[in-house]
């Protein structure tokens, strides 16, 4: 995606570095306005979603693209489908100010642009939303996990990884294999020996 917009100006190049180097005054023009700017994300199946620029910053991938100046037109995300992107955009909106990403963002920006985004503990409402958000079948959960991986969104990743871990708790060995689509590569003898060893885990 970053290669799509060739010829970033030298000032934009500088922008990527202040986070690490601690010299921040140069802001990308796109973020300079400080108002409620929106960007448009386009899914692989050509659905378009408007998302608050600051909400989109929850994704490191989107943040890099915005800083590279890709945020002017619709931003194509070919490996995300419309329904997945719709859910993700909704989560970003609900996670505004979530410490899981806001901490990181506050460190990177020094101009107080995200001051309305002061980290706050997830409220009961947000937690309820998260629970609802991952009450989906396995395939849909995996879609969201892959989206979290692609977008590098810590909050989304946190919620979806927790859901995957919760799903297999209290499952039997066979159920875990089935859920994760794994083949049993133990010989019957090996498996019997291993199960005997871990007997107390199966009680």
């Amino acid at each position: 995606m970053s290669s799509g917009d060739s010829g970033p100006s030298s000032s934009k190049q500088l922008v990527q570095q202040p986070a690490a180097a601690g010299r921040s005054p140069n802001q990308p023009p796109l973020l300079g306005a400080g108002g409620r700017k929106v960007i448009v994300l386009k899914s692989g199946d050509e659905e378009e979603f408007e998302v608050d620029l600051l909400d989109a910053m929850q994704s490191r991938t989107l943040r890099r693209a915005i800083e590279d100046g890709c945020g002017d037109g619709p931003m194509p995300l070919p490996n995300l489908t419309g329904p997945v992107l719709a859910k993700v955009v909704e989560l970003f909106r609900r996670h505004r100010g979530d410490p899981r990403w806001a901490d990181e963002l506050q460190e990177t920006e020094k101009e107080g642009m995200f001051k309305d985004y002061a980290p706050q503990k997830p409220t009961a409402e947000v937690k309820g939303f998260d629970r609802e958000f991952v009450s989906v079948d396995r395939d849909a959960l995996f879609d969201l996990l892959r989206a979290a991986n692609f977008l590098e969104a810590p909050g989304l990743l946190d919620v979806t990884c927790d859901a995957a871990a919760d799903a297999v708790m209290n499952m039997t060995v066979e159920e875990v294999r089935e859920y994760f689509g794994l083949v049993n590569d133990y010989t019957p003898e090996e498996e019997a020996a291993l199960r005997k060893q871990h007997e107390w885990a199966f009680q």
Binding site: N149, L182, N184, Q197, F202
Partner: protein, 399 residues
């Protein structure tokens, strides 16, 4: 036990390594998901596939759980039943259903011996030396690896200087023992029967873990000797080194690992007590503040580099070592109704867990524990499990 190390050599190996951890997910995301599964389910995860089993005992797994603050500490207790037989118990203090569970498949040698050292390094629990009726003290080392739930044998402790049975009494009635090819007089001491090698460190010796090294030296009452020696075990290399230093005094009652040093706490001589310190950076023993040696009285535990002692001389009183003033201050008393002495202590985060006779257990939060009538209020307690059990030592393993 053998299955733990042998299988991934043959034909299927390439397939195992190439297949994803979870089909349809990148491995780093799969690891993030799996690492969140609580430790009590890890036994099930290991049975799912060879790749998962390998993952669960890998450094990658350990560091992922550490990085994301997912590590869990379990407590391991070495107990003796009716003074005859050992048993090993494990306890998950963070579980909703707290209870002690007996470890299975323990090597028989670790069940009968007494005077063994009991230490944990990383994911491993070490059981060293010991002796039993009908068996001289031994140099054997066994360990239990909690990341794979299996027991194995480690490198034996440095060559023990056995008492040479032939030379036990010479014509003058004096005992001799062979140390290498040197004979040493035992000075007419009455030898106990059975004979535990007096100059060896295989039975009733003391130990401590500092960093990733295990240190052992002779315990108190080990008789006259020219030098006190100590041995160091490196678990990565599974090897021992022996050292000696005139400055390490005899009659060590216990070793404590604190502030990057090892403190040797010595058996008090009349009213005089003594402590030494060992600094691994210069490999040297020094004298230390003697007041710290008052902790010879009871079991000790370290919480965030602060030393606590359970003084059981009259009731059970938790004391804290105050480095700045060089003295012990009282934290509070423990209710004798909840935990029966003699006790052992371990730490789980900022909580001290006191384990008494029969595995009666209480937890005291060092920051939050309120006092009612001078008694510390526990954050949880477990009743006695089995009155025949005496707790000899407790350690923790964090995975």
């Amino acid at each position: 036990m053998a299955s733990a190390s042998s299988p991934p050599q043959k034909s299927g190996q390439v397939d195992v390594l190439d297949s994803p951890l979870i089909s349809g997910l990148p491995d780093d995301i799969a690891l993030l998901c799996l690492a969140r599964i609580p430790r009590r389910y890890h036994g099930i995860l290991r049975c799912v596939s060879k790749k998962w089993k390998a993952l669960l005992c890998s450094e990658e797994w350990r560091s992922c759980r550490q990085r994301h603050d997912l590590q869990e500490t379990w407590i391991y207790a070495l107990c003796r039943r009716n003074k005859r037989r050992n048993c090993y118990y494990v306890f998950d203090p963070n579980s909703d259903r707290r209870s002690w569970t007996c470890l299975q498949s323990v090597p028989p040698q670790c069940l009968k011996r007494e005077g063994m050292a009991f230490e944990t390094i990383g994911s491993k629990l070490y059981v060293l030396g010991g002796c039993s009726w009908g068996e001289d003290s031994t140099d054997e080392v066994y360990f239990y690896d909690a990341s794979i739930n299996t027991w194995a044998k480690g490198c034996p402790m440095p060559t023990p200087r056995y008492i040479d049975q032939k030379h036990l009494t010479d014509s003058k009635g004096f005992g001799t023992l062979t140390k290498g090819n040197t004979k040493m007089s035992l000075g007419g001491r009455v030898l106990p029967i059975p004979i535990f090698s007096e100059e060896g460190k295989r039975c009733y010796f003391v130990s401590a873990v500092l960093g990733d090294r295990l240190y052992t030296t002779d315990g108190a009452g080990m008789g006259s000797k020219t030098f006190q020696t100590w041995d160091t075990y490196d678990p990565c290399l599974d090897s021992w080194t022996s050292n000696q230093d005139r400055k390490l005094a005899a009659d060590v009652q216990k070793l404590i690992s604190l502030d990057g040093k090892i403190y040797s706490i010595h058996e008090p001589n009349h009213e005089f007590h003594y402590a030494g310190t060992f600094d691994p950076t210069d490999n040297d023993w020094e004298h230390s503040n003697s007041e710290i040696a008052l902790c010879w009285r009871g079991p000790t535990v370290i919480v965030d580099e602060i030393l606590y002692m359970l003084d059981e001389t009259s009731g059970a009183k938790l004391m804290r070592w105050q480095e700045e003033t060089g003295d012990w201050v009282s934290v509070g008393r423990l209710s004798p109704l909840l935990v029966k002495p003699p006790c052992q202590v371990v730490a789980n985060g900022r909580t001290i867990i006191v384990i008494g006779k029969g595995l009666s257990t209480i937890a005291v939060d060092v920051d939050k524990a309120a006092k009612v009538g001078g008694m510390l209020v526990s954050s949880f307690s477990l009743p006695e499990l089995d009155s025949d059990l005496s707790v000899l030592s407790c350690k923790t393993i964090t995975i």
